[in-house]
Symmetry: C2
Subunit: 742 residues, 2 copies
């Protein structure tokens, strides 16, 4: 059925019907039909399928370029085809380094050569597949053979180097050792290199990821002493994807940057190690005892260093171009074939990758299977559905980024929304993304049952939020209407869609109860998953229902279910945050500068553990927010107007749904700035980006926020104006929506 | 010189003189004379004396009843006599249990017998005095031989048992193991017994007290793996002193309670152990992983228990009556021989006790020596000086309490103030006590030079406070006029003077830079002290100057230097705190009860790690604070008036200094209530007491505060009125002071 003229458009229009019946973007009649469809969908969900597919997909290591990786893509492509999808394997060719040789040793009187080996574990059937496993390493580390004293740098983030400087420790010419955590791993070697370090070791401290958290594998789910977290250290906050093809697809014959011209590959050798291997290195450190917050869970006194004995770190990599196998499966929409609703999860793992990524991948497959079955029985989606299985996410969102860059023009035109997942486990519904989707996902969460409690997953998540809240703030949040959608930084395949192209995106999944320490190790296996992460795929099935109905609603909605007052209010909140943090920074800077100048730091210090004074900081100026404030006033008014019109639309004259849809369709793209963020033009969304010094962690209104945080006042001021211009642009788009009612 | 009529009384009267010249309680002329005297005093301070005396006093273990303990008392008494003091050794006879046998073992498949032995350490000359050392134990543990499963109870405070209950763990019939810290040690077995445990083990976790803090002895100052913290577990928050003679002196022939009738001796066997001995016990625990905040620094996963294998704890004690040797040395005051300014520090240690207590004791001795020398050259204090060296502080403030109880009537009449110290080390000036002394100690701190920086110890402490403050609150505290005197709980010999008799008291000392893990172990030795705690007795000498000039000022002041507006404002602050905490409790209770009733806890919980819901709590009523509020209004007015009169007194008619002194002298005693606190009548001060469930930690306005905390609303209401009555009583005393000006 093709709907060209729609009499009534409902957002939350009718107050006297049963709550269950309201669906954002649907007429009442279509909402009932949709809910019928979803009921059918739910009844078809199979845990056994997920189990079968996971067994196959995790049966051998399936990293980029592996035999199993290709086999997995073909296996999935075949299934998608069987289910009735137009399916292709979209291949790209990317720079993917793998280790040729790895050596880490402590020299001197008590020498130690790091084992760098995760051992086979009893009861884990795949942990012994030695010949196919990628050794533990950080992808896009530099080649190098360095020998130097060792310094402990805590998490290795900029704030840690401020402390080191006050302790009189310079890492220039040294090798640093940092704990995992506190930032995305790639930040650690980047900041180390910025401070002159010549090598970087990253280890999993048992306080964060090991026996302090709980019993270790195989007794319990946590990281055993020999477990290592692999992972990329490419400078993804600059741009993800193949580092040799920034901004365009890595097709077979494409022109590439020479490796020397790539700025996102780490400049120093970097190696991740286990806490067993870290112990002798950390024990060798002398110097001051580290600050309280830096201490880990190993049974030693943590010293900052340097070590008396030197450490040698020697790494060589194969810098090969490897093929990627993205599986792209389409089901054409009946009414709007050129409006694409896209779903993705990656399929490559660092080793066997059961939890990360296959648990999410098999849910997506089950969604596709059911929709395929339904379509064989006559169901037709109104919009086109696209199911993707990305390759090469682990090294640097390779598969998704190259595909998105390769199809950028088409996607900006056709992509309605992108829905990502990346693994799944027992627990609570989590969702992040564009705030235009907050209301939409609240409705989805209302309509999916939690397997453990039988209430909706929204209710359960709400209960968790209340129970975890500080009791003194409880009275404020009890009764809060909607669950808040989190802002997205990076760390998975939504980045190219969302932050590069401005396509409304979300990342969803369940978690919080399936704790473990298997992440990016050989222990992320089928055996580990079914014991600890999601026995019986109960939450896998919940994800199928959640993502499946999200896809169906996005595909079938009469009007696209984007709600812009929430987005606008959220942006307003960010603006207030920026002003508050600037004011607070000013107060603190003034006070701290006074303490330094008046000699209080000199008086307070212990002469036996002498800390240098902090440096006098430049005074924090007042910035001119007026342009942004004025733009916000306008867009607040317009979005409120638009919402009201949509809600009251029952009593209005018929409107053209196409006009409205076309406004909503591309509105979020108006928040992009083609020049992008400072020093990283690939990131074009002016509201959301991963932090330059946090990695996965989000920075909202990043141009301004990072300007302030880095005390680059000029840039912050400049970006206040850039953001204001984009907000006005966005406002104009919404005004077209308002006009559609006239 | 006897001053009977004083023309002018100055508090901070004259604004146009050099700041240095103002001294609370002194006329300007007397202030200069006093400052001259203090200059002389300072010039006579010898570090070498402190070193010599410490060497002798710590040469062998000197606990209650030891040969060295008696020898030390006689050594000090002889010196005091030589310095010109009327000196006596005041003996008491007290119940002091010592171990006869100690056994702790883990039974089962992997048995372990605890070593219970602190080993001799290289470079520490007294750690090998095995035959004289008191074995590691907790004094006033019950005798007992118990075998049961083991449960880990974190700190063993009431809040921990609420968590245990939610985890489904009952300690009834079990042996508990608790970490030191989070409360005074005696609270742990008391609360364990209240919950039905039959034995209690307390250990020093390396996270709090061991290698996590820094390098362990002898490499660094921190607690080595075999180190044990001895200490009393008598229920001192009920009453301190000999448990068989509550409220009266334990003289030789006095009638005593039978041991069975004593309620303050622990009801279950209790034993402190090292972290080396704790490791196999903790490793044997099964059950849930403990909450995050409970985790310690041992390289294991901490489980709550119970253990599969049982633990046996068998303890027998000699329940002997031992003699105590308090040294009391007096120098008669010229003008006011019946006004006593009292100084004390204890001399008994758990073993060699260099830091605790001898570092404070030798400072006191040096003060007494110099004043003795000065008096030989003609100096006469106006008031009587009393220097005390207490025995038996460690087991339960035995020496001070018995002496105070024995001389209660005389002390209430004659004691002007009591100044305590209890060990000393490098660092910052710390002072706690009656808020009537806040201004006094600010002046003292202004006039003593910090050895490390050359500024006053007040300035340094102020700098430390600013540098440690949260940067966002800095702007509020920069420029704060006075350092705040801390409220005193218990833990040293000021308790009987202050909380039993209402004598304005203070506890002072330096610390914060002389970190270590020697506390109550055989490693608290001369060798440890001079390496780590206060090399060269620099801060020992600072303490001599601080306490010495405090004694001289209290002795020579024209008018007693008590400033009551600060005390009254502080009490007002406490009243506001009580109201705020009651309101906050009400909001939180209402919100949490709602979460429980509405089923949010049920929904949020992880069924695989099931926590029971918290219990519904009784609603928090509104209490009637009006009587106390009205009393506060009156006393605020009177104290302000009195202060103003004292400050303007230069322009007033001459007043009788005796009248004024007599008002100030006993004013704080008016805050006592003879019936004392609920269920602990020995504690009579209505403003300050150690907490019933914190031990050393202070509870201000304890009758009301603990009533609220324990949700005993009736008692809280009752004590609002009791406190109001005492405040009115205090107000009447101050009104007499005001009247003296008329």
């Amino acid at each position: 059925m093709r709907i060209s003229v729609l009499v009534a458009v409902l957002f939350l229009a009718i107050t006297h019907v049963v709550a269950q019946e309201k669906l954002i973007g649907f007429t009442l009649r279509h909402a009932s039909k949709q809910l019928e469809l979803e009921k059918k969908f739910d009844s078809m969900v199979s845990a056994a399928n997920q189990d079968t597919w996971m067994k196959f997909l995790t049966s051998r290591p399936h990293h980029v370029g592996s035999i199993q990786g290709k086999a997995n893509a073909e296996y999935m492509a075949n299934l998608f085809k069987q289910w009735g999808y137009e399916t292709e394997i979209a291949m790209y060719y990317v720079l993917f380094p793998t280790p040729k040789s790895r050596l880490l040793e402590l020299l001197g009187d008590a020498p130690y050569r790091a084992k760098l080996e995760e051992t086979t574990v009893e009861g884990d059937r795949t942990s012994g597949q030695k010949s196919e496993q990628l050794p533990s390493y950080n992808a896009y580390s530099a080649d190098g053979d360095v020998t130097a004293e060792l310094v402990f740098v805590n998490r290795g983030i900029p704030a840690d180097y401020e402390v080191l400087e006050r302790m009189g420790i310079d890492v220039k010419g040294k090798i640093v050792i940092a704990k995992y955590g506190g930032s995305w791993r790639g930040i650690k070697p980047k900041v180390a290199a910025e401070h002159g370090a010549i090598g970087c070791i990253i280890y999993s401290d048992p306080k964060d990821d090991g026996y302090v958290q709980g019993d270790v594998y195989p007794k319990g789910p946590f990281r055993p002493q020999q477990g290592v977290q692999r992972g990329s250290v490419m400078d993804m906050p600059i741009y993800p994807g193949d580092p040799t093809t920034p901004g365009y697809g890595s097709t077979k014959e494409v022109k590439r940057l020479a490796r020397e011209d790539v700025h996102t590959i780490m400049k120093i050798p970097v190696l991740p190690i286990s806490y067993e291997d870290a112990l002798p290195l950390l024990s060798s450190l002398t110097g001051e005892v580290v600050p309280d917050a830096w201490r880990g869970g190993l049974p030693i006194t943590y010293h900052v260093g340097p070590s008396i004995s030197k450490v040698r770190l020697a790494l060589k990599f194969n810098w090969d171009i490897k093929p990627l196998y993205n599986v792209i499966a389409k089901m054409k929409g009946e009414a709007y074939p050129d409006e694409w609703v896209i779903r993705g999860n990656h399929h490559d793992g660092w080793v066997n990758g059961a939890s990360d990524p296959i648990s999410g991948m098999v849910a997506e497959m089950e969604e596709a299977r059911i929709i395929g079955e339904l379509s064989k029985k006559g169901f037709k989606p109104q919009r086109t559905l696209v199911f993707c299985a990305w390759d090469g996410e682990e090294p640097s969102l390779l598969g998704s980024t190259e595909w998105v860059e390769d199809h950028a023009v088409e996607l900006k035109q056709k992509a309605v929304a992108y829905l990502n997942s990346d693994g799944n486990s027992r627990g609570y519904f989590g969702f992040g993304g564009s705030h235009a989707l907050e209301l939409f996902f609240n409705e989805v969460a209302r309509d999916v049952k939690d397997p453990e409690t039988g209430v909706s997953v929204g209710e359960r998540r709400y209960a968790k939020m209340l129970v975890d809240a500080d009791p003194s703030s409880l009275s404020k949040i009890i009764g809060q209407k909607n669950l808040t959608i989190e802002a997205l930084g990076s760390g998975s395949d939504f980045s190219p869609f969302f932050q590069h192209l401005g396509i409304p995106s979300a990342n969803i999944g369940y978690g919080g109860e399936g704790d473990g320490g298997e992440y990016h190790s050989i222990y992320d296996s089928y055996d580990h998953f079914i014991r600890f992460k999601d026995p019986g795929f109960q939450y896998g099935s919940a994800l199928v229902k959640t993502a499946g109905r999200s896809m169906l609603r996005l595909a079938n909605a009469d009007v696209l279910p984007f709600e812009y007052t929430t987005l606008v209010n959220t942006i307003s909140g960010y603006v207030t945050e920026l002003k508050t943090s600037l004011d607070q920074m000013r107060v603190e800077t003034t006070a701290e500068n006074k303490l330094i100048k008046d000699g209080f730091f000199d008086l307070a210090k212990d002469p036996q553990h002498s800390l240098a004074n902090p440096k006098i900081k430049e005074a924090v100026p007042y910035l001119d927010f007026s342009k942004l404030d004025n733009a916000m006033i306008q867009v607040e008014e317009t979005s409120t107007q638009l919402s009201a019109l949509l809600q009251e639309s029952l009593s209005l004259n018929p409107i053209k749904v196409e006009v409205l849809n076309s406004v909503l369709f591309h509105a979020e793209q108006q928040l992009l700035d083609e020049k992008g963020l400072p020093r990283r033009p690939w990131y074009k969304h002016m509201i959301y980006a991963p932090g330059l010094y946090t990695g996965y962690g989000v920075k909202t209104i990043p141009g301004v926020r990072e300007g302030i945080e880095q005390r680059n006042w000029k840039e912050a001021q400049e970006f206040i104006e850039v953001v204001a211009a984009r907000v006005l642009n966005f406002n104009q788009a919404l005004q077209k929506g308002v006009a559609a009612f006239k």
